[in-house]
Symmetry: C2
Subunit: 223 residues, 2 copies
């Protein structure tokens, strides 16, 4: 693990001794930002939950290793989103940079103290947790009883919502990442991409580049 305190730290906007970053919605707490290279670990499983993280730029994945050696991707996080917020003493997930990332780190103790003092901070923390809960619930009902191609279609529809350029998705993550997120194998994910292309729902100029031809067919894909 890297030394967070000394390794190319960047405080917010030319800050002095106590740099501060925003947790979200106007709440500002002590913290600093760091850059992470592609596939670099941000925090590891079993590591102490000293920090809470916010994506400034890039994409992050959180993963968990299962007993049988498989890997479950529990979420992808995009700019503005908070991750690594867990109640236990140690992380039950691992976080890695999917692409080159800039991440804001907030001391967990500082955030929790802020929540004990400040009702706005408490509300913000509650909102973040509630958002995570909603998303996890959606993920759960989403993947139950859905075919491989339906899952991939739903995933792409979600990605399309995040895309800068409407109608074109540049996937930051690999087929393996997508597979581990959707509970499939990367071969099956690949086959689903091909099927969606054959059906004329998407086009694949390159493996990481997806052009959405029929947005409606994508969101409501079945069979």
């Amino acid at each position: 693990m890297r030394n967070f305190e000394t390794d190319h730290i960047q405080g917010g906007a030319g800050s002095a001794a106590a740099p501060r970053v925003t947790l979200g919605d106007g709440v500002v707490v002590p913290g600093f930002t760091m850059n992470f290279a592609r596939n670099e670990e941000i925090y590891g499983e079993e590591e102490e939950t000293d920090f809470i993280y916010r994506v400034v730029a890039g994409v992050v994945r959180t993963t968990r290793m299962l007993q049988d050696g498989r890997r479950q991707v529990t979420g992808f996080f995009y700019p503005g989103e908070v991750f690594g917020l867990e109640t236990g003493e140690v992380h039950e997930t691992c976080a890695e940079a999917v692409v080159e990332c800039r991440i804001a780190l907030l001391r967990r103790s500082a955030v929790e103290q802020a929540a004990e003092r400040d009702l706005a901070a408490a509300r913000e923390l509650r909102a973040i947790t509630a958002r995570h809960l909603e998303r996890t619930r959606a993920q759960l009902t989403f993947f139950a009883h859905k075919s491989a191609t339906e899952r991939v279609a739903a995933f792409l529809a979600d990605m399309a919502a995040h895309a800068d350029e409407p109608g074109t998705i540049t996937l930051p993550m690999s087929r393996v990442d997508i597979a581990d997120y959707l509970g499939l194998t990367f071969e099956t994910v690949s086959r689903s991409f091909t099927q969606l292309e054959r059906d004329g729902v998407i086009a694949l100029p390159s493996s990481r580049r997806v052009e959405v031809r029929q947005p409606n067919a994508l969101v409501g894909y079945h069979s």
Copy 2:
């Protein structure tokens, strides 16, 4: 839907005009309790999120109907646990009594106002949400890449932890409920019960009665 305000309402301990119930851990807010018969609806999908609920006695299931007509059981709730806490204006799930239940109802607005005033209430609300998040996350990673019998074994291990009498589980819910919770069909759940019995891990004196013969084999069941 029943009229909550007038239908066999029971305030806390002989209360007067403004009965109060506990949200949890000492936090008390205005509310009342009600009884629900087996399979009776507590709240429905699309119904407004006016209340937050706490199980006083009995077992509750929350469900969601999927587009294809399937039903997903999103959770079972036992005495002391809070359910129906959603951020949206209307419920995305439906809650029903699995067995005869006594439920405490708390006005959502009252709880949220309490959280805006009282840091202890805010912390309690945060803790409940965090607990739900942890559980949902566990559910998600648990059901990914697990065989039918492994899922059923894990479910029974969890039920055994809730059981009054150690080593004996009296299942309040049907095979269909379990199947919809675990993302299986009820036939497969039934087969898994039979398999666990054949393996000597459990005994089934009756379909709703499970005697755990090998607790260790149950928690760590594989293949």
